[in-house]
Amino acid sequence: MHFIAKEIDQYLNQQDYVDTAVVPLLQLDLSTNGMKPSAGASEYLQTLTALLEKQFKGRILLLPPVSYAKIANRQRIADELSEELQQTGFKHVFYLTTDAEWRTIESLKNVLWLPAIPIEDMDQSFKKSVMEDQLRQVLPLFMKEWSHHS
């Protein structure tokens, strides 16, 4: 489900079934040279999470991307997000990011790091097949997590 008011009503009624939160983590680089790759990474991440949401609509709540500056303290973001999520009923939380710095943060479980693929210049059908490929790498990780602890 998406983080929009209408779907949150549904989420609140179906919390037993929607037991997984997905949090995209997005680094912003607004320097002249960094802006385009940063935008490309954002496009990639949001395309991927949208596909994921479509596949698992009834089981995941996709939060809007948590965006932060290059210099942001990842550890602090991690702590604050975990604390916020702790008070919810989610049994599973996944973080998706293209920002390699998250690999050094050990306190977060289930951080899926994917190197961004520049999809902006691809034509529609090629982009679709590339993104479905990416999705196919992520889906089993969810299935595995669910089958282990549900």
Partner: protein, 167 residues
């Protein structure tokens, strides 16, 4: 790959209610249809989206067929890709919606290796027969929706979604 012989704009009439509209569409479209004079429904051939799936290649085994159209959400126009599970029953083409009637995940044909002749929903193990009939005892409470489908120049064309007419 891409097949643009029929303008995607022709599908604008089916615009749903936004990114979250898939669930609502299942409930709203049938209601809209009841409000339309049934005679008119015979002639809505213009609103089909042509896919690049050849009808000749369709067998009795459901395959996923994607189709894209533009969706307008307030001022924002985006291209949406949906898919259908298409198979033949005799000579008749059947197209089922992949949207699970429980909470809206995408179902897969033979997604559960133990049930190779059923649709399977990975979210809460919902299952459906090939004709879309939900299997009692699994979470879904109704059958998969059905798409109107026709052949155009040898290719599959997908139309509006409606309640399942097969079960």
């Amino acid at each position: 790959m891409s097949n643009n012989r029929v303008s995607r704009r022709q599908f604008l009439g089916y615009t749903l209610t936004g990114v979250g509209g898939f669930m609502a569409a299942g409930m709203l479209m049938p209601m809209v249809r009841f409000a339309v004079d049934p005679i008119l429904q015979q002639h809505e051939g213009g609103d089909f989206v042509l896919t690049d799936q050849a009808v000749a290649d369709i067998t009795e085994e459901p395959v996923r067929v994607d189709f894209s159209f533009e969706q307008t959400d307030a001022w924002y126009v985006s291209e949406v890709t949906n898919s259908a599970w298409v198979y033949k029953e005799g000579d008749k083409l059947i197209a089922l919606s992949p949207v699970c009637k429980h909470l809206g995940c995408t179902v897969n044909w033979a997604g559960d290796p133990e049930q190779p002749t059923q649709f399977f929903c990975p979210c809460h193990a919902g299952r459906y027969e090939k004709n879309g009939q939900n299997i009692p005892g699994t979470p879904p409470l109704g059958p998969l929706d059905e798409y109107e489908v026709q052949e155009q120049d040898g290719f599959v064309a997908i139309g509006a979604v409606r309640d399942n007419t097969l079960v």
